[in-house]
């Protein structure tokens, strides 16, 4: 049974090498991705109470850098929470937050205007809350009021 061996053997070898290489690449990508040992944000988490028709954010002034949203789904529908930048791009998000559960999302922001959007029912533009991120005052002394921060 004469069949052209060379092309088959070449593809066979490539196929053999591909699998472990792909697996290694995937693992490496995963490891690199979760290798972010980010320091805990210095500011307290922003509490987001996401209901069926409401999106309550406990503060709207954030500091640039790492921030955490502590989300609680207080409604009966599955919800999602997004943080949008001024240009509409997504800074971070958490989908599939089931009723009765919560999630903590850590993200990094630069100074500017943003919006937190709660999307009960996982659709539409959501209920939005405007937030403002101010430049971090690294030299700020605790206890002083932020009168000297830039507008």
């Amino acid at each position: 049974m004469e069949t052209p061996h060379t092309p088959r053997r070449a593809t066979h070898r490539v196929r053999r090498a591909t699998a472990p290489v792909v697996l290694a690449l995937l693992t490496a990508a995963g490891a690199a991705a979760c290798g972010e040992d980010s320091p805990s944000p210095s500011a307290a988490p922003v509490s987001v109470q996401a209901g069926d028709a409401s999106c309550r954010v406990d503060r709207t002034e954030l500091t640039a850098g790492l921030n955490t949203l502590r989300i609680t789904n207080t409604g009966s529908k599955v919800t999602e929470v997004y943080v949008y930048a001024a240009d509409g791009s997504i800074v971070t998000e958490r989908e599939s937050i089931g009723p009765g559960t919560g999630a903590e999302v850590t993200f990094e922001v630069t100074p500017g205007d943003y919006e937190i959007a709660c999307k009960p029912g996982q659709k539409g533009n959501g209920i939005r809350q405007k937030i403002r991120v101010a430049a971090s005052t690294a030299t700020a002394t605790p206890g002083l009021s932020p009168d000297d921060s830039q507008a």
Binding site: M1, V22, C34, S96, G98, P99, V105
Partner: protein
């Protein structure tokens, strides 16, 4: 309870269906022993996802949103490529099977164990982290209320059962009908996975147009309804679909399905040795 149940069902179906069809394929192609490689990949994906999910939920470590979406997007596209390759390759190597594989086909299938593990890993792992995070938050809430965790695990369990039933049902089909219809089903499912991957890359900012919708039928098909969950879990249909998703879905489905359903050319010359006639 129902909200968490539907998420579990949807996430579970998305993985279970692909794995079930691939496992049935291996049996029908005459290599049931290769199912263990598929299982290796699946188990690895579940373990890695649960571990990573737990780390992100219970410690202060965080994963950048872009990295998460990029992984989901690229892994989904990889899954589509691998599954498509497998569907065509298995059909080709299974044709002419009289119970045993000969020569190169047998060797290729044996060496494909690693590839099968990768397929299993990617099919489950592409959304594994998202599902794990959902499961861990339900677990976290169980300090206060058990309902989310019960709903979530019930949904996942039902998806596993559905996958099992699909697997058994597919095995009962005759060989020709099996390869035709199950292969076609897998291609349709893969198209949905591709659309999902495109959306993830759009959210990560790697592809443009995350808000440019081709259609929005959330009024008729609310995303949290049971029919929306089933549609998303099987063929990857989302009530809000962007243009890039729709184009990618169609650009993949139409040519690939056409190529797959086209009747195979009859193989030339009998394999038995015969005198070679020279022509002058």
């Amino acid at each position: 309870m129902i909200g968490n149940y539907l998420i579990g069902l949807r996430e579970g179906l998305e993985a279970a269906l692909v794995v079930a069809i691939l496992a049935a394929y291996l049996v029908k192609a005459g290599r049931p022993d290769q199912r263990r490689w598929l299982a290796v990949g699946v188990v690895a994906a579940i373990a890695v996802s649960l571990l990573l999910g737990a780390t992100l939920t219970f410690t202060s470590r965080s994963l950048s949103f872009t990295a998460q979406e990029a992984f989901g997007g690229f892994a989904s596209i990889l899954a589509v490529a691998l599954v498509t390759w497998m569907v065509f390759w298995m059909r080709r190597t299974a044709r002419g099977l009289r119970g045993e594989l000969h020569g190169q086909a047998a060797r290729a299938l044996a060496a494909g164990g690693g590839a099968l593990a990768v397929v299993g890993f990617v099919a489950v792992g592409r959304e594994g982290l998202e599902t794990a995070l959902f499961l861990w938050s339900a677990t976290q809430a169980s300090g206060t209320t058990l309902t989310p965790l019960l709903g979530a695990t019930a949904g996942l369990a039902c998806a596993a059962v559905a996958g099992w039933l699909f697997y058994r049902g597919a095995l009962r089909l005759g060989l020709a009908r099996f390869f035709r219809w199950t292969g076609a089903a897998l291609i349709v499912v893969a198209a949905g996975v591709l659309a999902y991957g495109v959306h993830d890359l759009q959210e990560a900012g790697i592809l443009p147009g995350p808000n440019t919708l081709a259609f929005d039928v959330t009024g008729a098909v609310p995303p949290d309804s049971w029919y929306a969950s089933l549609l998303k879990g099987t063929i990857g249909f989302t009530p809000e679909t962007t243009w890039a998703q729709l184009v990618a879905w169609a650009a993949f489905l139409v040519p690939v399905l056409t190529a797959y359903l086209r009747p195979e050319p009859v193989p030339a010359a009998a394999p038995s040795a015969g005198p070679v006639t020279s022509r002058s």
